[in-house]
Amino acid sequence: MERSIHICHLYPDLLNLYGDRGNVLCLRRRLEWRGIGASVTEMPVGAADRLAEADLIFIGGGQDFEQQALLEDLHRGKDASLRAAVADGVAILAICGGYQMLGQYYETHDGVRCDFVGAIDLRTVGGKERMIGNYLFRCGDESGGMEVVGFENHSGRTWLGEGVKPLGRVLSGYGNNGQDGTEGVRYHNVFGTYSHGPLLPKNPALCDEILKTALERKYGKAELAPLDDSAEQNAFREIAARLRNA
């Protein structure tokens, strides 16, 4: 049987800060290189809600300036669709602002609260200092257990609710809040992370883990043929080594 994965890129018009589209490209290419069909629907602000058709949803990070337009659109029904997708086990990769958005709320450091999707029990509080830089974390076993390098740039501090598992543990850098050593979230098939920009190209094992999650949900089991990842490994190793030696 011909396998295929339908990717929905939510808010590519506003949540596209610094290289986010590289992740969609990476997901697509790694499916295509294995002869698995891949299609991408872009769903900008104002577009019809087609989240129910998605096997995999990608949500990137955005600028503060455009947040209001996004929230208005979100609260016209896409928030309910996202909650349904999360509960239904749809594979979701959510980064930075997109990751925060799946939580309960964002509270600015002067106390103004903004309600988000509420699909996952996590909340974000704004801080004064931004947490910026390359960082390294190790994913939990349920998410593959691999080491991941990324770049974080956020002022929000995210706190996970009781019993909610992080995506991984920080080895070098800040992660969710710079204090409890957690990074991101793994909830049902949601992979949430602060690693903005193109997270996946340098972390092909994580990319494949997400693809496998989507394929398993759709087809029951998923075998992914190995690819030549030597360039990917080189890119990973150089930054990981730099962070370990820092």
């Binding site: 018009d13 506003l14 596209n16 800060l17 610094y18 290289g19 986010d20 589209r21 590289g22 490209l25 990476c26 290419r29 602000v45 600028q63 503060d64 300036f65 455009e66 209001q68 337009a69 910026i132 830089g133 390359n134 770049f151 740039n153 903005h196 920009g197 193109p198 190209p201 340098k202 360039a231 990917e232 080189n234 890119a235 150089e238």
Partner: protein, 459 residues
Amino acid sequence: MSLKTAAAIALCKGLHLTARLLHRGGTAMPGRWALKLDPALPGELARGLDILLITGTNGKTTTARICETACVDAGLDALANRSGANLLSGITTELAMNSTLGGRVNKKCAVIECDEAAARTAIGLLQPKVVLVTNLFRDQLDRYGEVTHTLENIREGLKKAPGAVLALNADDSLVSSLALDLPNRVVWYGMDRAAADPATPPPALSDALRCIRCKAAYEYDYLSYGHLGGFRCPNCGYRRHAADVAVAAPPLLGPDGSQIELSVRGERVEAAVNLPAVYNIYNAVGAIAAVTAFGVGLEHALTAVGSFRCGFGRMERFELGAAGARVMLVKNPAGCDQVLQFLSGLDGSFELALLLNDRTADGTDVSWIWDADFERLSALGERLTRVTVSGDRAWDLFLRLKYAGLDVSRIRVERDYAALTAQLAASEVPVFIMPTYTALLEFRPQLLKACGGEEFWEG
């Protein structure tokens, strides 16, 4: 003048001399120390000096060279921070080096390139006669933050210089918004609808999708590149202002320069632009708008546009290999896209080298390469004879090209700059080199050595 000011000038001159003797260049460091001693020093030195200040994301250096050339052509003796040290420290060094110990600058006017974050304090201190804002694009988010923050920095700076004439890019909705709440006189420049290529697709990513005033989505009558073009807000009516200095017909784009037809305050003139690519046409019209507002005659501005030399990685030409090399500094997705667009428009084969560093001056976040349209390169096929990736983050470039669809067997990794220079020198086809800022600083001396040239601060 206070004793403190005199001491700061003496310190600046002393440090600059020491740095030169040690061959360290020394364009920013002396000013940094002088500013610690006397934070008001740039203002003291700028008194009595007519200043044309240039800021914005892309095109500052090239535009400054055109403006400086026009001033010289008009017989004005202008000083300029030519080395590209464009923070307040570098500007201070340049002013102090042209001043007596008593703080009297020995020139009548200055063309100052100013970093867009530094503009917040520099504009108020320097009280320029004309301020040119080129464009605003996402750039080094780890350093500048969001593009609207950069815009606010410039706006705050301009609030302290109500007497300055502004030369604003009419096609950039972010830059144009500076005129909304400032009392300054404005000279507008840009590309008219008649000059735009109707086939220009909307950008894959726009840094100004929504109205800066009311946040409704803009509509466009035509596009130039990135978010530049004939924008209008259907909700609040904010729209592109008619340009006083405009490209009025489709430009003739060549590999070494462009021919353009301009409308300058209603007068039709033709001009040759001495560097290729659309973004240099913007630099040319911006410079014409600014220098004519500065008091330089149009004929001198046009001469400058056709004769200026820029150098230092701005389409800089080197006699390397059988067909020569050009170095094109890239710093952000918008600038990189413009260079890639230029390359895709070339006839014939060429070789390409990409150098990516992630040091402070480059921006420590290299994610931006994924926003640039490297897919254009995969469309070139055999015309792109070879691509070499280099620099601290060579493997990130390798991945970007791999995922853009390039044949990985034709991508080389070469970290050693001497070996890379030798490889490029053996090329039979034209060579194009795209480095980030610190990679340019390190690689350029190798190129100069291969061509028998000199360092920039000795020139």
